[in-house]
């Protein structure tokens, strides 16, 4: 145990080093999206909107976004606008095999104005936007963001004397304008030195001083609105540290070690697996905590946050069941699906939005929200674990039912327990949702698609549990239903927001990834059919 804490402590220390020279710019407070955030987050989000990534050709977003403003014409012919929708590319008469385009190619194109009109017409009809129009909307947003940043209207750096709308760069008072110019000069010197591979020790310090000078001048305008240093530095740290990335790396390491334990029966390695798992879990928790500190709320309000939370829950449940049953393969399934969840969250920022966003009004009574969302999503974690175990069960059935009878029994026990845990959280979670709805809207149940699909998932697992008691399904049936019934959870969790796109829970709605999720579900269903057929064949023969 001592060793574990040592590893953890050194790990945390190595990342909480103070900002190095030249980094002060990252900490510059910016007002954007209804909150104050560090310039680091602002620039990452803006580059993400335009380019789809948080770095451009290895250069940091902080640098790229600043140069958009300082010399927009230099970016005119650079391919920085990501367009992925083929229909939009077709409508723009642009090559479909290309993904990045320059501003000239897109917005100099006369078809862009036509498409904007088309989008406007669609908006006026107030119909739901299909993926084509959503992609068009993104294109318009990319155009808007780049234009506004270039014009200095997007970057709001100075608190106002009155009210709460901050002043953008384009409208700065002379006092701050002077400091801002000094800052941009130091910035240009610094990146110039970096580009020429010269020593940056002096330019970095100059830049930091210039940033500090600007911050002081901005603070002087309205000191009361400029006090965010705690959350700002936490956010910069969160951006650079990627706690969830480290978490899945450790989960994956734990998974590898567990595989060795499992396949080679090397019990001695078990301790190492536990250490990796614990480190991953602590990092997962830590990242969750940092988000909570920055936003001052439990981070379970969008898909990204629930994916992170579910991964956390999977590891928790797997560890508890492992401690009780010592089956090993519960942990194998747990680490695998948790790592899988976090990897998806990390690699699909366009679908799962990792940015920190303020809450919709209806969610602001966060006491009930927090409890009902956390309870429901933690049940998904248990079902996800059952799903992972179901996959392992299928492998055993493929490798021979007779030979692995004991293992299959263990898998089914794990599935069964996970489903029970899931039901024990999901049913009260749905009821809490009802209480919350009654409390804020005055009705307990309104057949809203999100709540209805949570209910359908619950009914699905209840049907499985009752069918098992009735003797309608046995071991193989449990393995199959663990996989199939999870499709209902995917529908409730992802599908309602991204496929159905209707109802009161519209604050979590998004677009994208449907084809991948469908493929994932379809692949598993095909696998189940395949194994069932093989098994049926074996039984006959």
């Amino acid at each position: 145990m001592k060793k574990f804490f040592l590893v953890l402590a050194s790990l945390l220390l190595s990342v909480t080093v103070y900002a190095k020279a030249g980094d002060a710019l990252k900490y510059l407070p910016v007002q954007d999206g209804g909150r104050i955030k560090p310039y680091d987050s602002f620039s990452r989000e803006m580059l993400e909107i335009v380019y789809g990534k948080t770095t451009y050709e290895g250069r940091a977003a902080t640098e790229i976004v600043m140069t958009w403003m300082l010399s927009p014409q230099a970016w005119q012919d650079k391919k920085i606008f990501e367009v992925r929708n083929h229909e939009v590319l077709e409508a723009m008469k642009l090559p479909k095999d290309q993904r990045y385009f320059s501003g000239e190619e897109l917005f100099g194109n006369e078809r862009f104005a036509l498409l904007r009109q088309e989008l406007q017409g669609k908006r006026e009809s107030k119909e739901k936007l299909n993926p084509y129009f959503q992609a068009l909307q993104r294109l318009e947003n990319q155009f808007f963001v780049f234009q506004e940043i270039a014009a200095g209207r997007m970057l709001k750096l100075v608190p106002p004397k009155e009210g709460n709308s901050w002043v953008a760069v384009a409208d700065l008072e002379p006092a701050q304008q002077e400091k801002f110019l000094a800052m941009t000069k130091a910035f240009v010197n610094h990146i110039g030195a970096m580009a020429k591979n010269e020593s940056t020790s002096q330019t970095a310090v100059d830049l930091d001083n210039a940033v500090k000078g600007f911050e002081e001048s901005a603070r002087a305008v309205n000191p009361g609105l400029y006090e965010h240093s705690g959350t700002i530095s936490a956010e910069v740290h969160y951006n650079s540290f990627h706690p969830f990335r480290w978490a899945y790396i450790f989960y994956f390491l734990a998974f590898i070690v567990l595989l060795l334990v499992w396949t080679l029966s090397k019990e001695s390695l078990m301790k190492i697996a536990w250490v990796f798992l614990a480190i991953g879990f602590v990092l997962n928790t830590y990242g969750f905590g940092v988000r909570m500190y920055i936003m001052d709320r439990a981070p379970v309000s969008n898909m990204y946050e629930t994916v992170v939370w579910v991964s956390w829950g999977v590891v928790l449940f797997a560890a508890i069941l492992e401690i009780i049953y010592k089956f090993r393969l519960i942990l194998v399934a747990g680490t695998l699906v948790a790592a899988f969840g976090l990897v998806i969250a990390d690699f699909a920022p366009a679908v799962l939005d990792p940015t920190l966003q303020p809450l919709e009004p209806v969610l602001r009574s966060n006491y009930w929200l927090t409890i009902h969302v956390m309870t429901i999503t933690i049940s998904y974690a248990a079902f996800f674990l059952a799903f992972g175990l179901g996959d392992i069960g299928l492998i055993y059935y493929l490798r021979g039912e007779e030979k692995h009878h004991e293992k299959i029994k263990a898998v089914v026990m794990g599935i069964y327990r996970s489903m029970q845990i899931g039901v024990a959280f999901l049913a009260p979670g749905i009821i809490l949702g009802g209480i919350w709805a009654d409390y804020s809207w005055g009705r307990f149940w309104g057949w809203d698609p999100k709540e209805t699909w949570a209910l359908i998932a619950l009914l699905g697992y209840l049907a499985v549990l009752h069918a098992r008691y009735a003797g309608m399904i046995k071991h193989f049936g449990m393995v199959v239903t663990a996989i199939i019934t999870f499709s209902l959870v995917i529908m409730a969790w992802y599908g309602v927001n991204f496929v159905l796109g209707a109802g009161l829970h519209s604050y979590g709605f998004g677009a994208g990834g449907v084809e991948y999720v469908s493929a994932f579900v379809a692949a598993h269903i095909l696998m189940v059919i395949y194994v069932s057929m093989i098994r049926a064949g074996k039984r006959k023969g």
Binding site: G442, R443, F444, W447, D448, Y469, L500, A502
Partner: protein
């Protein structure tokens, strides 16, 4: 089911057995899941109302629910007498029954409506989902009496030419021959052949900065129809003798054409007078040098709806019914009315959501929206309302007002040009609330206990089934 101590089961239990079957339970659960899944797809494709009408509020949904209650009751009866280990199972199942009983009470006796109150205004009517058809009749065109009020559900039972909905009238009958779920309406004015309607005027107001084209139609002759165009008001109808200290233009139908009178803010004397006909232009004489053009003038006009059918609902669509009366067709939109004239009677037909009287006026004294810093995104909003005998209350997002057995919630608000103009409340009375909370509590308790006792009861159940040779 305790087959060691009670060797022979009573007749009741044997009859009860098939109803208590686990297989039936699985069937019910799967059926419920399937039906509700279809419901959500209907909702995504159309809207919540369609889902309710086509899926959730149907005989098959109620049948499955009824079967569920029977199955739950039967299975608990089957396990009688209950033991300690049955606690979880009994609680979970009784909890569901209590919940459903609460839901039934709400459905049958509850009130769930919405209410719009403008800032500074008072309202006492709550709009609910049921739709009514109301007909008022008048023989002198002045005093009306209600001759029909009936709940109709055209969504589920749409009238057709073959099976019209018939409203008897003094002479002949009013036939409702069509129903359109989703139409995009636009206003259309036509000449009224019966000669009993008010006048209609289509005008254009134009200068370098403005260009307004509007229809004005009088509801009946000698009433005033008004268009408010910011700096001035345009009225179609009789003009007063003196100005009212406002920029106003009155156009009065007369035999020689349209007589116009222009009044100005700082004088009660007319600024200008004259007569215009269709196609004429005049300058009202204001400083902003406007041109007033009479595009179309109909001495007797009727407003009608031009309807464009839509495949699915959107915020622009509404529903409409088609009326056939004395050989003429009229479309009536939801929450709108139409007047039907005969030689000796006038009928006023309204079709719309029922409005329930609260029994007290609710005044919206103030409304506030707070927004996330530097954006137009609403962060929270709240209303200050006043009700009799109880004074002022603050209603905010999750803080409803409880008054005279009703609960009034802040639901949303209406905005015009970035400023809130009205607050929308949802008003409800829920006699099933206590049962729903009780049922939730009992059910949750049961589920937690189920974890505690693991699966004792079921294990025994399946064992006994095996022993019975099922």
């Amino acid at each position: 089911m305790d087959n060691t101590s009670v060797p022979k089961k009573s007749l009741l239990k044997r009859l009860n057995k098939p109803l208590a079957s686990l297989k039936l339970a699985v069937f019910i659960i799967v059926a419920l899941a399937a039906i509700t899944a279809v419901g959500t797809i209907v909702e995504a494709k159309y809207d919540a109302y369609a889902a309710k009408k086509l899926v959730y509020d149907t005989w098959f949904m109620y049948a499955v629910m009824g079967l569920l209650v029977i199955n739950l009751t039967a299975v608990m009866l089957d396990r009688w007498p209950w033991r300690k280990r049955h606690a979880a199972f009994v609680l979970a199942h009784i909890g569901i029954i209590i919940l459903l009983a609460g839901a039934w009470l709400t459905m049958e006796y509850g009130l769930d409506g919405s209410m719009r109150v403008g800032i500074g205004e008072t309202n006492n009517l709550v709009q609910v989902a049921q739709t009514d058809l109301v007909v008022y009749s008048s023989f002198d065109g002045d005093r009306y009496s209600k001759t029909l009020e009936q709940e109709v559900d055209f969504f589920k039972k749409p009238p057709t030419v073959e099976h019209p909905f018939i409203v008897p009238a003094l002479s002949g009958e009013i036939r409702i021959v069509d129903y359109q779920k989703y139409v995009i309406p636009s206003r259309k004015v036509v000449a009224d052949e019966s000669g009993k309607g008010g006048a209609g005027l289509r005008f254009q107001l134009q200068n370098a900065n403005v260009n307004v084209i509007e229809w004005l139609v009088q509801r009946k002759p000698d009433t005033v129809a008004t268009h408010n165009f910011g700096p001035a008001q345009i009225h179609l109808g009789p003009a007063p003798e003196k100005g009212r200290e406002a920029n106003e233009i009155f156009l009065t139908p007369s035999k020689e054409g349209l007589r116009y009178v222009v009044f100005q803010k700082d004088s009660d004397k007319p600024l200008k007078k004259g007569v215009v006909k269709e196609g004429d232009v005049f300058d009202p004489g204001y400083k902003m040098s406007l041109q007033f053009r009479v595009l179309r003038y109909l001495p007797t006009a009727l407003e009608e709806w031009d309807l464009k059918p839509a495949e699915r609902p959107s915020p622009m669509t509404t529903s409409a019914i088609k009326i056939l009366f004395e050989g003429k067709e009229h479309w009536v939109l939801l929450n709108d009315m139409t007047k039907l004239f005969t030689n000796n009677a006038v009928y006023l037909l309204t079709y719309g959501n029922r409005r329930v009287d609260l029994g007290f006026p609710l005044k919206l004294k103030n409304f506030e929206v707070s927004r996330y810093q530097g954006t137009m995104r609403a962060m929270a909003y709240q209303s200050v309302v006043e009700v009799p005998d109880s004074g002022e209350h603050l209603i905010s997002m999750n803080e409803p007002l409880k008054y005279k057995g009703l609960t009034i919630y802040q639901a949303s608000f209406q905005e015009e040009q970035g400023k809130p103009v009205a607050s929308i409340f949802s008003v409800n009375q829920d006699p099933g609330r206590f049962l729903k909370y009780l049922g939730s509590l009992v059910l949750s308790l049961g589920i937690v206990l189920l974890m505690w006792f693991k699966h004792l009861d079921f294990r025994i159940a399946s064992k006994s089934q095996k022993e019975n040779g099922n």
